[in-house]
């Protein structure tokens, strides 16, 4: 029978719970510091990556898809959502490997390290969300309250997808040290599977179902739908999204719960 926290030790854990908030804040703050050299300039620099990508892709593809209404707006929304997904999953996968030294020092739930690792991608995405909403208002494309709320919901859903992936990938990465290279390749392919630079309508409709199996696709499409087209996706579409997000979280949690307790042995 594995050692599990008995009721008697709850008092012993009380002190740790008291410092949990401090640990989460320290993890987020130090991650920000390492990633952006502790400066706002470094953070702005990080925002330039998707912006530069946007300028480059827009320069090429806006001619190709000149007949597509709102192509540029759809492109930048797709790019920022993709950047959130890609940077969040990469950081999540490497979280235990890079911060695992804390697991070998004391009793510390690994999930905190995993979830905190995606905080910076989330901060960037939150900032982008504010910018895009302000931009839409400025160009007279003000989204309705329902659309703005759904945009928020899709952001939460994307965070849950990233968290589910990260829970599983972080513990698997400790056992399979080339998983990050495999994921890099998957992300390169996934960038083209998700309809980011092309409108999904250019593909025959019978293939759409396969594209929607790739988690970022429905989130990108639904976000564009509410923000750009002003259309709220159907209830069936939302049910599909709910099931897909729940599945990501459940599978991630199951793998984490199975392999996580032995994570320290692989560090």
């Amino acid at each position: 029978m594995p050692a599990e926290p008995a009721a008697a030790e709850s008092a012993a854990r009380a002190g740790w719970h008291g410092s949990r908030a401090g640990l989460i804040w320290t993890l987020v703050r130090t991650d920000f510091k390492v990633r952006y050299h502790g400066t706002v300039g470094g953070f702005v620099w990080a925002l330039l990556k998707p912006l530069a990508m946007f300028v480059m892709l827009m320069g090429v593809f806006s001619f190709l898809f000149a007949s597509e209404p709102n192509y540029k707006l759809n492109l930048i929304i797709g790019l920022f959502l993709w950047d959130f997904f890609a940077s969040g999953t990469v950081a999540g996968m490497g979280s235990l490997q890079s911060r695992g030294f804390l697991l070998t020092k004391a009793r510390c739930p690994a999930w905190i390290l995993i979830v905190c690792s995606i905080s910076n991608a989330l901060i960037t995405y939150a900032l982008f969300s504010v910018i895009i909403l302000v931009f839409l208002v400025l160009i007279g494309h003000t989204p309705s309250l329902a659309a703005a709320l759904l945009f928020l919901v899709y952001g939460v859903a994307m965070t849950m997808v990233i968290a589910g992936f990260s829970l599983a990938a972080s513990v698997l990465f400790l056992r399979y040290r080339d998983l990050n290279q495999i994921w890099d390749m998957a992300l390169q392919a996934g960038f083209f599977v998700a309809p980011i630079i092309y409108p999904i309508g250019i593909l025959p409709e019978r293939y759409h179902v396969y594209l929607y199996l790739w988690a970022p696709t429905p989130l990108i499409q639904f976000t564009r739908s509410v923000l750009v087209d002003g259309r709220i996706p159907t209830l069936t579409a939302h049910l599909y999204l709910t099931v897909a997000v729940a599945l990501c979280l459940i599978v991630g949690t199951v793998i984490y719960r199975r392999l996580g307790p032995r994570a320290a042995e692989y560090l």
Binding site: P2, A3, A6, A11, W25, T26, K33, F101, K105, A106
Partner: protein, 249 residues
């Protein structure tokens, strides 16, 4: 009252004939199945630690001392048995390695201190004391990648000694640093004992177990072969390792 009860704890590791740590190695080796050797590190280990007691754990290299400490601290999961903890444990394990190299001492203290159960106000309040204990005040803003292993170890012990809540678990702590640092560690240890803290000390040095512990257990091949007064166990350890050990009680 027992603050820690180790009840029939067992732990084994599967040692593969060929180490494979990548998907590529697993795929390429799919037609070459590996043999696994089972290494029983701990076998039905049971003992308890009373509140305010200092317990020593002795044994030869590879007898399972460090694995046992990690299970007691909750870092490793046992395969069998369980550990009942009725007090907060502050471990001092492998503190010389595994810092965040890109962060300075202050941020690393915040990270390690929070993992060890200190709140941020407590860490800030004790920051100067921690840096002074480690004699690293001048290097507080230096990234850890520029620290020597000795400096990093001193910093780790300084944080842990300040973070002690109830039970302190030490793995070969008095073997780190120069004579001055060792003396400070010993002094701090005595202060904690006087204040009534429970301690578990692992050491190869019978003199340390005799001097700093009330009681001790002797591990051999993953089993407890003796549990007695610290002096008696230290003597048994010397008999077990023989004259080649070069240590004295």
């Amino acid at each position: 009252m027992n603050v820690i009860e180790v009840q029939g704890v067992s732990k084994a590791f599967r040692i593969p004939s060929v180490h494979r740590s990548t998907v590529r190695e697993h795929v390429l080796g799919i037609l070459e199945p590996r043999q696994f050797e089972r290494l029983q590190v701990l076998d039905d280990v049971s003992f308890e630690v009373k509140r305010g007691e200092a317990l020593g754990i002795m044994g030869r290299n590879g007898c399972g001392k460090s694995t046992l400490l990690k299970i007691i601290c909750g870092v490793y999961e046992p395969d069998g048995g369980r550990v009942i903890r009725r007090a907060a444990i502050t471990p001092i394990l492998e503190l010389g390695v595994g810092w965040h190299p890109e962060l300075d001492a202050i941020d690393n203290i915040c990270l390690l201190g929070s993992v060890m159960g200190l709140s941020l106000p407590e860490i800030r309040e004790r920051m100067d004391k921690i840096l002074a204990f480690a004699e690293l005040e001048r290097f507080a803003n230096l990234k850890l990648k520029h620290y020597s292993s000795g400096m990093a170890a001193r910093l780790g012990y300084a944080v842990a000694f300040e973070a002690v809540r109830e039970v302190l678990v030490l793995d070969e702590v008095f073997a780190v640093g120069d004579a001055g640092f060792t003396a400070r560690c010993e002094e701090r240890y005595r202060q904690l004992r006087t204040a009534g803290h429970t301690t578990i000390v692992v050491s190869h040095q019978p003199s340390i177990i005799s001097a700093f512990c009330d009681r001790a257990v002797l591990l051999d091949a993953g089993k407890i072969v003796s549990a007695d007064r610290a002096n008696a166990v230290a003597q048994q350890y010397l008999s077990l390792v023989g004259p080649e050990a070069g240590v004295s009680a």
